[in-house]
Amino acid sequence: MTANTSHQSSLEAEIADLESRLRTARSRLNVSEAPSHSSPSQPVRRAQDEALHALLLLSDSALPLGSFAFSSGLESYLAHHKLQTSTSATSQAASFSIFLQLSLSTLAGTALPYVLAGYRHPEQAETLDNDFDASTPCTVARRASVAQGRALLTVWDRSFKAKYNQNNAVGENIAADSLTAFSKTIRSSDEVNAHYAPLWGLVTRALAVPLHDAAYLFLFSHARTITSAAVRASVMGPYQAQAVLAGSDLQQRINGLVEDGWNTPIEDAGQSVPVMDLWVGRHEKLYSRIFNS
């Protein structure tokens, strides 16, 4: 029940956030295209509505990716720190905020370049998938990434594909074509894994979400997943969690990370928080677990 309301409210917060960003984007557009916009021009608006619609679909926490099962090392991090100090509620919240920072920069360092590359070069899906797999240092992280990647591919196949293919002839939407080809190879080849990050790039491209939004949402969803995990691991309450997500702190951080990683080639993707690999890798050694990672 509480999980439901927290999902609901997280959703609402997200919608509010997206809407405000849409408004600012529109106002910027108004400034730059003031003359043509004096009478509302229909085509421009329709293009934006398309993207917004897709963005709302992808940001929905009801999107069946199974992200709720993963804490990306949070659970292990808490266990490692419980051993060192007896933690009170306030210090738990403080150490959570450190973890959130570290986890976001890890994701931005290791996965974001693959999101951007997947979006920009959907035709390289298989290489990206292989290279991401080669750069994933442990089974736990790999499991989490592949589970969500496959789920995303399934959502694409079963739910999104029909709508987005009907308007396009083959060859028009290269991301959609790559996704179709990719899900064909995954059934025949053992060497394809379907990692989440590159596929996120492909799917957002196919849905015509603007690149910056796709990258922003990728990091934001991660923050939401960890925060929601923190609520369920009783690190903080649902209102506190919403405050974290709503904070301008988080917004600035995500924007900064997207900006930093914007031009990072996948060869330079790497770990900036080495201890994160250990926390995630040692998740399997926890005595009790409620998450998959």
Partner: protein, 333 residues
Amino acid sequence: MPFTSPFAPSTATAGRGSIQLALLPPNTPVLRNVSYQYPLKLVAPDALPPPDHDSDANAPELVHTVFLLTYGGGIVAGDGIDLSVNLDQYTRLVLLTQGSTKIFKTPDPKLVSRQHMAVRLHLGSALVYLPDPVQPFAHTSFSQSQIYHLEDAQGSLCVCDWVTSGRSARGEDWDIYEYKSRNEVWSSGVNAKKRLLLRDNLILDKHGRTDMQLSARMDNHAVFGTLIIHGPAFASLSQYFLDEFEALPRIGGRNWGDTTQPDLNPKEQRRVDRQEQERANGLIWSAARVRGFVLVKFASREVEGSRHWLRDMISEEHSILNKFGERAVLCLK
């Protein structure tokens, strides 16, 4: 008739080095070429027969060892080192350092010192590279890469890459500008497409992508390391790491006192002692099988903790000592 020099063109570029280990049939490996330019220095002591030579028919008669040294025991700002290593079929090589690789202060954060090593391993060859850790002093910028090319994804590797927080005795605690270390393993063959098998890329920069100080990101660890193990020569070693990881006590588990401690055999007793030592040294580690590799990550509060742990693990398992001799773990002493 134009004169063609019988000698290879000079490769006298500063910091450039080359090690070519060839196999003289039937199974005598020889160092065909060891060359180096200042500030790099290579020292190759006499090769020794491996202790297990009698028991293993495939083993070459000799195991070669090369020390990678730099003048002054470290890398000065702006230095560049570029080493290429080639192992012919069924050869074995041990690469060592002599003391930690010190990275000296740079006048300008943008002046990055570099070290690059490319190793080509042919079928059946094996490399052990267990160096001392890299020790970047405060205010340094350093970037290194170790690229391994395995012929048809074969070849055996046991390589370690570890870095410390600086001169802890002087209070240095990750006070560097920048440290990057990249380890990549590629599969390449005559017919096959070049394929990335493993990439381990560590990027530590002062501000990084978070607003956190480096030291705050390290969670009180003064050393981080990665051990990459691959191939038939190290099959038992990699299994050993996986087994020991599996045997680690559960984190957050408690002894309720309702189970009686079984009597331990000597091996189990050594394991318990080692785990006790891990706790005392604040050492945490993980091991995972990834795409045919075993990837081990470790960190500890102090350098010696990791050094002891690595030595204990490798000596307890013992196959490296059998196949490569005591020299292979010289840097862990």
